[in-house]
Amino acid sequence: MYQSSIVLLMYLSALSLVAAEDLKQSEQQRIEVIRRISPAVVCVMDAAGAGGGSGVLISADGYAISNFHVTSGSASFLKCGLNDGRVYDAVLVGIDPTGDVSLIRLLGRSDFPFATAGNSDNVRAGDQCLALGNPFLLASDFSPTVTWGIVSGTRRYQYPSGTFLEYTDCIQIDASINPGNSGGPLFDIQGRWIGINGRASFEKRGRVNSGAAYAISVNQVLHFVDHLKCGLIVDHGRLDFTVESDEQFNVVVQQVSELSEAYRRGLRSGAVLESFAGRRLTSANDFQNVVGIYPEGTRLPLVWRDRTGQHTATVRLGPLHAFQKTPELPQERRPEGHPENDSQQPEQPSPELLKLFTAREGFCNYYFNDAATQQLLTPMLQRLADVTPDMAWKITVSSADEATALQGEIAVTRNTVGLRLNDQSWLQNTETPKLQDEPPTFPGFLLAVNHLHRLLRKDKPAFDELTAAGRTVHQPSGRALRILLARTGARSTRWYFSDDQPLPVALDLEPEAATDEIRLIFDDWKMWSGLLFPERLGIVDPTTEQVSWLRITAASAQQEQNK
């Protein structure tokens, strides 16, 4: 007893300066915060209720985030424990293997407690933080273990090191992180969710806390969460050029693929990148960090400078890995406690649970994709109920800008699109994949109108495959919009939908490989005679990002003559 008194008292000398009231108050606040955030922390187990890691609920309908390397050890069904002591059935919804994130959905309640996200860009080294989770699978009643620490560094980059798991822009903490903490939430001291604890520097001391652990930033997770909700295997992005840091902290462009969008915008070897996605760059790591926090397909602004001055453009991230199925992790990265010869047999999933999973090549869980796709299509088809079926379109247009004084007509049938502007005209056969006769100022415009014609079919859109693909910030509008990918052959159209109306607000289409996308904006949808068509049609200039508007003055649809 004397010995322990001594140890206890050693701590007291540090305290003598701290007013007792402050101490009590701050302690009470911390206890209160932990009490408030604990119910949202999930103990993630496999279907047999064994093994596991951690997770965090993010909405009342049961969506929870964990690590990919935690759920990859389980099949599509899981068991999840909460600190109410109950075990809930859960289903795997979507995965982001590169970012080491997975989305699961817990079932059985519509009022799940959930964490509220903070802004991880505001996190600073020295901030206090709380890591909650299930280290060493200690809590048999599922009340999470809490560890406290400080943020040791921000915007850290951790190499894939032998796998595809790449931690970009992550938060380094000194709170204890041990096996089983993976997938669990990191909170700031106010209890705002700021990250997902997933990785630590383990070296000589074995796979236990070393004082250097890494959390995926919540801002990165939020860029992916709507993609994950669509049941996808979400990919990260890449750009088709390489960079290097130089001695003056410039990020210097090395090689640029001549087929890339950046090349077409004028980016060349030797240019200095100033910012990407709004973040100033001073090193190649900075650049890597920004690229890594966005899903494939995101269009982002790039600013660079070269001999001729400063330039701005937007570029779309291409696919990084393009996984067609769930990739395998090397043995040492698999979660603890998933023995191959586990004697426990998972119970048979209930019929209700089985309904929530559909296997399909290229998807994590197609059930959720189908549901999200129908959510986009159903309101649109309802809106199309009054249009003329199997229609041919005739649309009269004029330029919204009086100065250019364009007058013309668009004529659309199932297989052709014609455009006449003043005394010039173009006719595109849309059955061949090649661009034949397109207006040189907006190549691909006729093809894009054809795709609109395919989308607005009364019965159902005429594409090979329709896939809801999350949400992104649309350029140049800056709005966060839902995405519907419509694939025909190898070509995909990207349709953007807002939450407040059933018809698309924009379209991006790459008419041919390695050419600029045609990007249209649809404004003020209106029912014309037998035809739903916007009152204004915007065309985005790929170089300036300026929108040229066409005003629709008349539009009609009529039954197409059968051939």
Binding site: M1, Y2, S5, I6, V7, L8, L9, M10, Y11, L12, S13, A14, L15, S16, L17, V18, A19, A20, D22, L23, K24, S26, E27, R30, R124, A125, G126, D127, Q128, W148, G149, I150, S152, G153, R155, R156, Y157, Q158, Q172, D174, I189, S201, E203, K204, R205, N209, S210, G211, A212, S245, E247, F249, T282, S283, N285
Partner: protein, 347 residues
């Protein structure tokens, strides 16, 4: 003050230790300037010997203090300052008894660097919250800020440690830290208090000779200061140099004669301050001391040994009241001892 301290004793008595330290740190974010005096070192490594380490700028001309590790002995060192600039670093001198090495960055004559002033190094008490700044695990590259880890000074000890199978030769006193500060690449990093005042030089990854546990330690910068000054002058520190300032110590006889208090004799190096007997009618008896009490605090100072108690009591002058906390029957009591005048008959 008295009430305040009592409350804290009750508070911490009923709780784990760590939450108590939180507010001390909470009021401060790490001092930003500290980042600028820490440099990342890169050199030759092999196997479990890392090719990277940490150093601390100790002069405006670009002298860097680090540990005398393989990085220093193999040479070819590159130092990256906090602003991301890269310099070749040359070894000026090493001081093996303190496991210290002094490097000099190859700079332009006009280059000036932010640095710590070793003279301002503080010797915080055991229990003080500290921050450890280092290039651990090479997490930070270029101009990225080094990692910062929080902890508490857990003890002040002399090391009995091994590196691999070799006895670790460090002779100086070190601080043990209750956090994992001594990671790969952290050696040579800076330990500060929570205000950023320099405290220690983070040591290597070594294990305790007996238990095999990893030791997280830092060498006090105050102890290193004479060695660094000698190295800056191009001299070696004379081996016998460790100067211990003789602190006044109350003799055991004085304690009995004047105070009426006899402690259990120092049979071990750190014999706890247990009261062996109290002379009736003396100041000690009036204050309420009893045989078997363990002195744990004199004033606000933690008492870890019998000699500690005599050292602290020597600081009081006659007529002052010393607040002494003892542990009795598993309870903490604060007693007030009126310090008697020096006896003329004593010796």
């Amino acid at each position: 003050m008295k009430i305040c301290r009592r409350r804290m004793l009750q508070l911490t008595g009923s709780l784990p230790f760590w939450p108590a330290v939180v507010p001390a740190l909470a009021s401060q974010t790490p001092p930003k300037d500290t980042q600028t005096v820490v440099v990342k070192l890169f050199g030759a490594g092999l196997g479990s010997l890392d090719s990277y380490g940490t150093g601390v700028l100790v002069s405006a001309e670009g002298h860097v203090l680090t540990v005398a590790s393989h990085l220093v002995s193999t040479g070819f060192l590159t130092a990256v300052t906090a602003d991301g600039r890269r310099f070749t670093a040359e070894t000026v001198a090493t001081e093996p008894s303190m496991d210290a090495a002094l490097l000099k960055l190859k700079t332009e004559p006009a280059d000036q660097f932010p640095c710590i002033d070793l003279k301002t190094a503080v010797e915080p008490a055991v229990g003080t919250p500290v921050l450890a700044w280092s290039n651990m695990f090479r997490v930070a590259a270029g101009n990225e800020p080094v990692s910062v880890v929080h902890g508490v000074i857990a003890a002040s000890v002399s090391l009995d440690a091994v590196q691999g199978k070799w006895k670790f030769p460090l002779k100086s006193h070190v601080w043990l830290i209750d956090a994992i500060t001594n990671n790969s690449g952290a050696a040579g990093g800076l330990l500060t208090d929570s205000d950023g005042q320099p405290v220690g030089l983070i040591g290597r990854e070594i294990r305790h000779a007996t238990s095999g546990t990893w030791v997280n330690y830092a060498v006090p910068l105050k102890t290193l200061q004479p060695a660094v000054e000698a190295m800056l002058k191009g001299q070696r520190l004379t081996p016998a140099a460790p100067t211990t300032v003789a602190e006044p110590l109350l003799s055991a006889r004085d304690l009995t004669g004047r105070f009426g208090l006899t402690l259990i004799p120092a049979v071990l190096e750190r014999t706890p301050a247990w009261i062996d007997s109290v002379v009736p009618g003396t100041a000690a008896a009036q204050a309420g001391f009893r045989r078997g009490d363990l002195i744990v605090l004199v004033g606000d100072a933690v008492i870890t040994s019998e000699s500690d108690a005599r050292r602290r009591l020597a600081e009081y002058r006659a007529g002052q009241k010393a607040a002494i906390t003892v542990s009795r029957d598993e309870q903490l009591l604060e007693l007030s001892l009126l310090v008697p005048a020096a006896t003329t008959t004593g010796r």
